[in-house]
Symmetry: C2
Subunit: 344 residues, 2 copies
C-alpha cells in the first residue's frame, strides 16, 4: 500500500489469522495482513473479511437447495479492490449481497463533498484517502421476512497539513414488509447489547441517528424500523473504536438470522408480494436519492457500480398513488414508519 508506506510507520506485529473460511483471499496479501495487525488498515481488513464470511455462511445455511454465494474478487485500477458476494434467486433469499471493499487513492471533489456533509471539513478539493468496509443488503423472497442492511467502515484521509485523520462509521437496520413487533424488538435488543458492552450512551444515540438517517424525506417516512447508525466515531481511542465496531459486526448474525428462520416458511399470497414490491421501490428510492454511501461510491473514480448497486432489490414496483387500505396490516406498518418507535 503506497498509502501505508508514505503516511504511517508500521512495526512488525504478527498475529496468525484464520482465513480458512473467508470467501476469498483478502485484497492485501495474507502475510502482510498478519504482520501488520497493529496497523488499523490491516486490522480492519482482516475483521471485515471475517464478518463477510460469517454472514455469508449463516445465510447459505438457510438455503434448502444448497444455493451458494457467487464470489467476485475485483481490483480497482486507481488502488485497492473488493470481494463482492451475491446470492441471487435463491429459495430463501431473492437477492443477498455482502460486499467487502478496501480502496485507496485520491478522492475527487464530488466524493469529498459527500464526506463534508458527514461533519468533516476539508479545505482541499481532492484528498488522499483509504477506505475499507463491509456492506450488505439482504432481500428475502418471503414478504414475511424483513430486508436487512448493515455496513461497517473505516476511513483515513490526509489533510492539507499532512495530518492523518481516521474515523469509523456504520450501522444496521431492518425493513419489514409486515410488522412483527417481537422481531423488531429482538433486532434492536441484540444491537443494543453490542453497543452497551462499550458505552451505555451509544445505543440511544445511534438508534435516533438511524431513524434520522434512513428517512425517505419526500414520503415523510423512515425506510424501516431502524436499528443503529453512526459516523465520525474517533473516540475514546482507535483500539476501542475498533472493538466497538467489531462487536456490532458480530451482532449481525444473532440479530437477523433467527428472524429469517422464524418467518421464512410463513404463508403469503399475491397481495403480500405486491406490497413487498411496492416497498422495495421505496427502498430503491432511498438508496438512489439519499444514501450517502451510494453517492460516495458512484462518485469515487473507478468505482465498481455493480457492487454499489448490489443493494437494489431484484424486483421493484411503482404504482401511481398506491395507498394501503385503512386498518390493514400494510397501513399499520406505514404508521410506524411515519412515527418511529422505541423498541427496547
Amino acid at each position: 500500500l503506497y498509502y501505508t508506506a508514505k503516511h504511517q510507520v508500521c512495526h512488525a506485529a504478527t498475529l496468525k489469522l484464520d482465513s480458512s473460511k473467508w470467501m476469498s483471499e483478502p485484497l492485501t496479501d495474507l502475510n502482510t495482513l498478519e504482520k501488520n495487525q497493529n496497523d488499523m488498515k490491516c486490522r480492519v481488513e482482516a475483521m471485515i473479511m471475517r464478518i463477510q464470511a460469517d454472514v455469508c455462511h449463516a445465510l447459505e445455511e438457510l438455503e434448502p437447495e444448497g444455493d451458494k454465494f457467487l464470489v467476485d474478487k475485483w481490483h480497482r485500477a486507481e488502488g485497492g479492490g473488493g470481494v463482492t458476494c451475491v446470492l441471487q434467486d435463491g429459495v430463501t433469499f431473492e437477492k443477498a449481497g455482502v460486499n467487502v471493499s478496501v480502496v485507496h487513492g485520491t478522492l475527487p471533489p464530488g466524493a469529498v463533498q459527500q464526506m463534508k456533509s458527514r461533519g468533516k471539513n476539508f479545505k482541499s478539493q481532492t484528498l488522499p484517502f483509504f477506505a475499507a468496509g463491509v456492506s450488505s443488503v439482504i432481500h428475502p423472497r418471503n414478504p414475511m421476512v424483513p430486508t436487512m442492511h448493515f455496513n461497517y467502515r473505516y476511513f483515513e484521509v490526509v489533510d492539507e497539513g499532512g495530518k492523518r485523520i481516521w474515523w469509523f462509521g456504520g450501522g444496521a437496520d431492518l425493513t419489514p414488509y409486515y410488522l412483527d413487533e417481537k422481531d423488531a424488538k429482538h433486532f434492536h435488543k441484540t444491537l443494543k447489547g453490542a453497543c452497551d458492552k462499550h458505552d451505555k450512551g451509544y445505543y440511544p444515540r445511534f438508534k435516533k441517528w438511524c431513524d434520522e438517517y434512513f428517512f425517505i424525506k419526500h414520503r415523510g417516512m423512515t425506510r424501516g424500523v431502524g436499528g443503529i447508525f453512526f459516523d465520525d466515531i474517533d473516540e475514546p481511542s482507535q483500539d476501542k473504536c475498533f472493538k466497538f465496531v467489531e462487536s456490532c459486526g458480530d451482532a449481525i448474525v444473532p440479530a437477523y438470522i433467527p428472524i429469517v428462520q422464524k418467518n421464512k416458511n410463513s404463508g403469503y399470497g399475491y397481495a403480500e408480494r405486491q406490497w413487498q414490491l411496492i416497498r422495495r421501490g421505496h427502498y430503491a428510492e432511498f438508496n438512489l436519492i439519499y444514501d450517502r454511501g451510494t453517492k460516495f461510491g458512484l462518485q469515487t473514480p473507478g468505482a465498481r457500480y455493480e457492487s454499489i448497486l448490489m443493494s437494489l432489490p431484484l424486483n421493484a414496483k411503482w404504482e401511481y398513488r398506491h395507498e394501503p387500505k385503512p386498518g390493514s396490516l400494510e397501513a399499520k406498518l406505514t404508521e410506524v414508519l411515519k412515527k418511529p418507535r422505541e423498541w427496547v
Copy 2:
C-alpha cells in the same frame, strides 16, 4: 396570481381558448387565462393544457379495451398546483403519465442549487419563482415499443435587484429496448422538423445536448437513443421562444404515436420482457440519481411526490452483473447506448 400582480403589468388581451378537450379545468381560472394571453405565464398554461390533452387522447386511442387516463387535479399549499394524468395497467401502456404543473412561491436553497447548475447564477439563497411545464413518461407494455419522455417548461424568477428573468427549457427522448433504426430515425426527423422551422442550428445543438444530458454516468451509456434537450432558452424573443417550444410540443404525437402503432402487436417472450425490466431499472437509476427535474421537484416545498415519481416504471429489475450475450440484439442496443449515433 400574487406573482403576476406584483412583478408584471398585464394588459387585457382576450383570446378565446378552446378548452373543451382539456383533461381538466386549468389551474388558473379559464376567464383569467383568456384575458391575459399577452402574459407569458397564462399563454404557457393554456399551451401545456392543450398539449397534455392532445397526447393523452392520442394514447387513449391506442388502448383496445378503452382504458382511459385517471385525472388528478391537485393544489399546492405554497402556491399553484397541477393536473396529473396517469394510465396504468392498460393493454398497450403499462404506465403512462402526462403531468401539467403550474407552481409559484419561493424556492429553497436546495432547489436554487439545481437551477444554478443550469447556468443561472443567483446570489440569494431563496428566490421568488414561477414554473409551468408539461412532462410525460410513457412506458408501453410490449418490449418492442420504446419508452418515450418529453418535458417542456417555462420559468420566471425575480433576482435580488427585483429584475424578472425568464427562460424556457425542454426536450424529448426515446428509450428503445430493441433497436429499430427506422423508428429512431423517424423520431429524430420529426423533432428536427419542429426545430428547423425556427432555427436550423437548434437540432444539431439540442441533439448533442440530449445525448450529454441523458447519460447514465456510472454505466457509461446514454438512457436511450436521445432526441432533443435544451435549457436556458431566452433568445431571440419571448414570443419566438414560445413558438419554438410549442412546435416541439406539437411534434410529440407525430414523432411517437406511429412507432407505438407499428410495434404494439409485435411478438415477444419471457427473455424480451426480462430485458425490458432490466432496462427499466436503468431508467429508474437515471431519474433518481441524475435527473435535475426530479431533484428540483423533490426539493420544492410542498411538492406532490406522486406526480414527480410518476416517471418511474411500473416494474423494474436489478440483476447483479447482468450482461447481454455478445452478438445479441440486447448487445447491439447497448453498443449504440455507449456510442451515440447521428440519426438524420
